[in-house]
């Protein structure tokens, strides 16, 4: 888990740096090697690794507009994903999707740019597994803001009604763009909404990878055993703006500093060393490994060829 968290953090640091190329001094989203919106997930890595540690390639994940940490935890092909984010022909989708549309069928990962849109596809994959008598669960990751979208409700009800091997994981980073959870959600915690579907609901405070791992393990085991869905809400922290370029004037003073002080990556490093599940040397080695991987990945993506313009016309129908 730690290594994936470090990989994800390092990945986004490089992405952020590349994103800003060509965008200074004047920030124009259309410029640079990485145009368009860029939603970073730094701070939210524990959610991804704690859940994905229980999943194999056959298990299905749908993620959101903020997908990198989950993709990395799920084992998406990092070179092809990065090439995609750079809009290259070697990208997972040949550059058609970009950072909000990462599809890697080899590990059954998909994401999308519409709030709560992934709920259905995940539950549908769970239904497919059930109809075919195959093992495998499906997990939909959404944000806390997405729990107020109609699709959330419709899919939760069907998944519960049909007892699908499905888990909904809500990453509660307290914000939906500039709107605080308390301004968007009539209840303090979304796990209570499980009662509306007669399924277990769990709240995991503290952005703690160990606690997330435990809660997700239970839910996924229940799903695998035919016990139906679980709704998990995880307290997590969005250390970045909503997207790059967001000046975050809506955040209360001091909030970000407080969150950075509780950054889950150093916290996990400390705990591992304290509990002797890893030595300081192990950690350094892991970090070096991540760096080497990232060097390779970004070199590949940058060097990769651009798509031909006319390829835009392909793959509309298959």
């Amino acid at each position: 888990m730690y290594s994936r968290m470090v990989l994800s953090r390092g990945y986004e640091e490089r992405l952020a740096a590349a994103y800003m190329e060509g965008k200074t001094p004047l920030f124009n989203m259309a410029n640079g090697p990485l145009p368009g919106e860029m939603h970073l997930s730094n701070g939210q890595e524990p959610c991804a690794v704690g859940v994905c540690a229980h999943l194999g390639a056959d298990d299905v994940i749908t993620a959101t507009h903020r997908p990198h940490h989950i993709a990395i935890a799920k084992g998406v092909d990092l070179q092809a994903m990065t090439a995609e984010i750079f809009g290259k022909k070697a990208g997972l989708s040949g550059g058609r999707g970009g950072h909000m549309h990462i599809f890697d069928p080899k590990v059954n990962f998909a994401c999308s740019g519409i709030i709560a849109q992934g709920m259905g596809p995940a539950a549908g994959a769970a239904l497919a597994r059930k109809l075919r008598g195959e093992p495998g669960v499906a997990v939909a990751f959404i944000g806390e803001g997405a729990a107020n979208q109609g699709a959330f409700h419709e899919v939760m009800n069907i998944a519960a009604l049909w007892k699908l091997p499905f888990v909904c994981v809500i990453e509660d980073n307290a914000w939906g763009v500039s709107v605080a959870k308390s301004q968007s959600t009539a209840v303090a915690r979304n796990d209570v909404r499980a009662a509306a579907y007669g399924i277990p609901g769990v709240y995991v405070p503290g952005n703690d990878p160990y606690a997330i791992y435990a809660a997700a393990g239970e839910a996924i085991a229940r799903a695998r055993a035919g016990g139906g869905p679980t709704l998990i809400e995880i307290e997590t922290w969005r250390l970045a703006g909503h997207f790059m370029g967001d000046v975050e004037g809506y955040r209360p003073a001091g909030e970000k500093e407080a969150l950075f002080a509780r950054d889950p990556i150093p916290a996990m490093r400390q705990r591992m060393i304290a509990e002797k599940t890893a030595t300081a040397e192990d950690v350094v080695a892991l970090e070096a490994e991540a760096k080497a991987t990232l060097d390779e990945v970004f070199n590949f993506a940058r060097a990769a060829a651009e798509p031909q313009p006319e390829e835009a016309l392909e793959k509309v129908f298959v």
Partner: protein
């Protein structure tokens, strides 16, 4: 699989569109265990418009699933099932309900292949009923052909008779792309609604495909091209019958699908006849009728008189019979308009 023998050569067995559709689905369900059906009232009831009659008994409740009234839920689930290799059919009871679930259709199903660079497919068929004429008012009588055809990534099919319906449905289920299958209530063959007699035709028992994207010349003629789809094909055919007595030979083209659109068939016919009328019971503006006329105009074909369209006016669909009938196209209006075109 090629289109089988010509119409006049078919085994004699008249079916309604509803029966033809449920037969096509049943045959594909037998052939491919990945095919399954979801929708409101499609299991025990067999579908409000009969498209899934008998399927529950044959295939059981796992593969024929009544759903809650959660269109976004079950349609987006179908996309997810399709992504991992199933071939779901889903039913949106009336097309008018698209507003509660369009994201799952146009932004999810229709773009899955593209966003994934072709690596994740969406072999899903969405069946829906269209059209009015029986006073079901403004939220249960729309066609919305233009709405679906305008947005890329989904095929849009509209059968006008049971033979085409079965063959197109078979092709749709086997297609690796999302297909919106729009069935007109005036043609469906439900006892509780009137049905244009021309929709009930002989249908072969064996499975066959009618290819998506090939228009049909429903009636050949040399004097004017009348383009219709679904119910308006029959209005055009009836009008053509009347006009033939006056010596006007109308060629009636049944588009059969809007995506892909068989522009060539239209152009070929208009090049021959030199005249064009489009008959459409969807809203007038920014829709099918405009697209067909524009296609002909762009081709630079010299016409004997300006092209015309008879479409549903840009108004919500009124309940009261006199108002609704006033607004709808029909064979009489088609004939009158064509006569006018010959006087211009």
């Amino acid at each position: 699989m090629a289109e089988p023998a010509r119409r006049d050569n078919r085994r004699k067995r008249k079916l309604t569109i509803a029966k033809a559709i449920s037969e096509a689905i049943a045959q594909e369900m037998e052939r491919d265990s990945g095919v399954f059906v979801m929708g409101e009232d499609i299991a025990k009831l067999g579908g409000v418009f009969g498209n899934t009659q008998g399927l529950l008994d044959k295939f059981g409740p796992e593969r024929v699933r009544d759903t809650p009234i959660s269109e976004t839920g079950f349609i987006s689930m179908a996309v997810g099932a399709a992504a991992v290799g199933m071939r779901p059919l889903v039913e949106l009871m009336f097309v008018d309900f698209f507003g509660v679930c369009m994201d799952a259709i146009y932004n999810l199903a229709a773009k899955q292949a593209y966003f994934s660079g072709g690596h994740v497919k969406c072999p899903m068929v969405l069946m829906t009923s269209v059209g009015g004429g029986y006073s079901d008012a403004g939220q249960h009588s729309q066609c919305l052909y233009g709405t679906f055809a305008h947005l890329p990534g989904m095929k849009v099919v509209i059968p006008s008779n049971a033979y085409d319906a079965k063959g197109l449905m078979t092709a749709a289920i086997r297609d690796d792309n999302p297909v919106i299958f729009m069935m007109h209530k005036n043609l469906q063959g439900m006892g509780w609604l009137g049905t244009a007699p021309g929709a009930i035709v002989d249908v072969p028992e064996d499975a066959y495909e009618v290819p998506l994207g090939k228009a049909d010349i429903a009636r050949p003629g040399k004097d004017i091209t009348v383009v219709g789809l679904g119910a308006t094909v029959h209005q055009a055919l009836d009008a053509a019958e009347t006009l033939a007595k006056d010596g006007i030979e109308a060629e009636v083209i049944d588009l059969r699908s809007l995506v892909p659109l068989d522009r060539e068939a239209v152009l070929k016919s208009v090049r021959k006849t030199g005249r064009l009328l489009v008959v459409d019971d969807d809203y007038h503006s920014f829709g099918v009728s405009g697209e067909i006329i524009a296609t002909v105009a762009e081709a630079g074909i010299t016409l004997k008189s300006p092209p015309k369209r008879l479409a549903y006016p840009d108004i919500p669909i009124p309940f009261a019979r006199p108002m609704e009938q006033f607004a709808l196209p029909n064979a009489g209006k088609v004939a009158t308009l064509i006569r006018q075109m010959f006087q211009e």
